[in-house]
């Protein structure tokens, strides 16, 4: 049995178990922390930094999705400082790629777009980089549009952990990072891809989509994939 401990979230005492993350405890006690890369029952990686929280006695902000709770910890999930940094994290996601929501398959069904609305990001203060990026249409049924990718690695993790195919990886570092298929092949030539579509369903943006959908038509069903992952005893 994992040891029972107690932590404080926004001043309130909540029960937790050793080994849980701050995010898990917060969610279990009905507290909202914004997340983008996190996905239920899948290993968290702390890629997007939307879930940052303040922990008293620690003088840097910590991602709630990867930070384990400790007995007596006191966590702040909402403050002006956190709002400012979350906003910056979102703005950078918009500047790093090309997001024209109005002509995107995921318009009105996109987690990035919805998060910007929720956090009040109505404009981006930093200059857009307008990078030139490819769109991989080589797969029979699916499309990967790098213009919309936020490098959350949900596709990478779900393909490896749930489907067991491990088609996706990240190449390069920092702003040059790209999602790559089978160590850099067009998706249509992948030998490992089983065409299951799980990566498409969990992708929070319009980066992965099914072919044949027009603007606004791509609605994702990530719950199907996470339910399967949890039934198989995925990351708890």
């Amino acid at each position: 049995m994992p040891e029972k401990i107690s932590i404080r979230i926004d001043g309130e005492y909540v029960a937790a178990q050793e080994g849980q993350t701050i995010l898990e405890v917060a969610r279990a006690s009905g507290k909202y922390i914004p997340t983008l890369c996190w996905l239920e029952s899948i290993t968290p990686v702390g890629a997007c930094r939307l879930c940052i929280v303040e922990v008293s006695g620690v003088n840097r902000l910590l991602p709630a999705c990867t930070t384990p709770v400790q007995d007596g910890m006191s966590v702040t999930t909402h403050s002006e400082k956190l709002a400012a940094y979350r906003r910056i994290a979102l703005e950078f996601l918009f500047t790093e790629r090309n997001h024209q929501c109005a002509v995107c398959v995921s318009n009105n069904h996109c987690e990035l777009q919805a998060m910007a609305q929720r956090l009040g990001v109505n404009s981006v203060r930093y200059a857009y980089t307008f990078p030139k990026l490819p769109v991989d249409v080589s797969h029979e049924r699916f499309v990967l549009d790098h213009n919309r990718c936020i490098l959350c690695t949900r596709c990478v993790r779900v393909c490896a952990e749930v489907e067991g195919a491990h088609v996706w990886d990240l190449s390069s570092r920092g702003i040059r990072s790209m999602v790559i298929c089978d160590m850099s092949k067009p998706w249509g030539e992948s030998r490992n891809c089983t065409n299951c579509g799980k990566c498409v369903q969990v992708c929070p943006t319009g980066a992965l989509a099914e072919k044949g959908f027009a603007v606004e038509e791509m609605v994702k069903r990530d719950a199907k994939v996470t339910r399967l992952a949890s039934r198989r005893g995925g990351h708890q």
């Binding site: 109005a102 929720r118 009040g120 857009y128």
Partner: protein, 176 residues
């Protein structure tokens, strides 16, 4: 009460945002009662007037002409509102931004043309290297994203501005 001097400007956008201003139905009567529309696509004035209280800009800054206009507009406006994604993010006009303008024009007017293969140069402003959001060039006081922004948001924004308040748009608008 003194009427608000209101201007609307159409830069690199599709006119959809201006159409959405007209979409606010009877709220437009309130605007008419409280504001003088001193400049806009349907107003005769050629020059952008002086001492404008509120200027609403649709569209990205894409050409030399847009650039000159927006600097003059900033000097003559107390408050600038970027209306719609093209003004706020560069949006669709910005999709050309990773192609050099010369190549873009050649592709369209020479490779893409059946006859009369020339790049127009007379009477059209030169394209900037990139189409950019308004606030990348001048200070913008309020951003109203959307493609186009919903009429309800426009009615709310105009209503607040004409009451002398700066509207809080958190969670009321979105990109796209």
């Amino acid at each position: 009460m003194k009427k608000t001097r209101l201007a609307t400007v159409w830069l690199d956008g599709c006119a959809g945002c201006h159409m959405s201003i007209l979409d606010i139905d009877e709220a437009i009567l309130n605007v008419a009662a409280r504001a003088d529309v001193v400049y806009g696509p349907l107003v005769d004035a050629q020059e952008f007037p002086k001492a404008v209280d509120v200027t609403i800009i649709e569209g990205a800054i894409s050409s030399q002409e847009d650039l000159e206009k927006v600097h003059a507009i900033r000097k003559r406006s107390k408050l600038i509102v970027s209306l719609g994604d093209c003004a706020v993010t560069a949006n669709v006009p910005g999709m050309r931004n990773n192609i050099p303008p010369r190549k873009l024009l050649e592709r369209i007017y020479i490779e893409g043309a059946q006859e009369n293969k020339v790049i127009p140069s007379e009477g059209v402003p030169a394209l900037l290297r990139q189409a950019v959001p308004v606030h990348q060039v001048v200070k913008v006081d309020l951003h109203v994203p959307g493609c186009p922004p919903p009429a309800s948001a426009i009615a709310f924004v105009l209503g607040e501005l004409l009451e002398g308040r700066v509207p809080n748009l958190t969670a009321k608008v979105k990109f796209g």
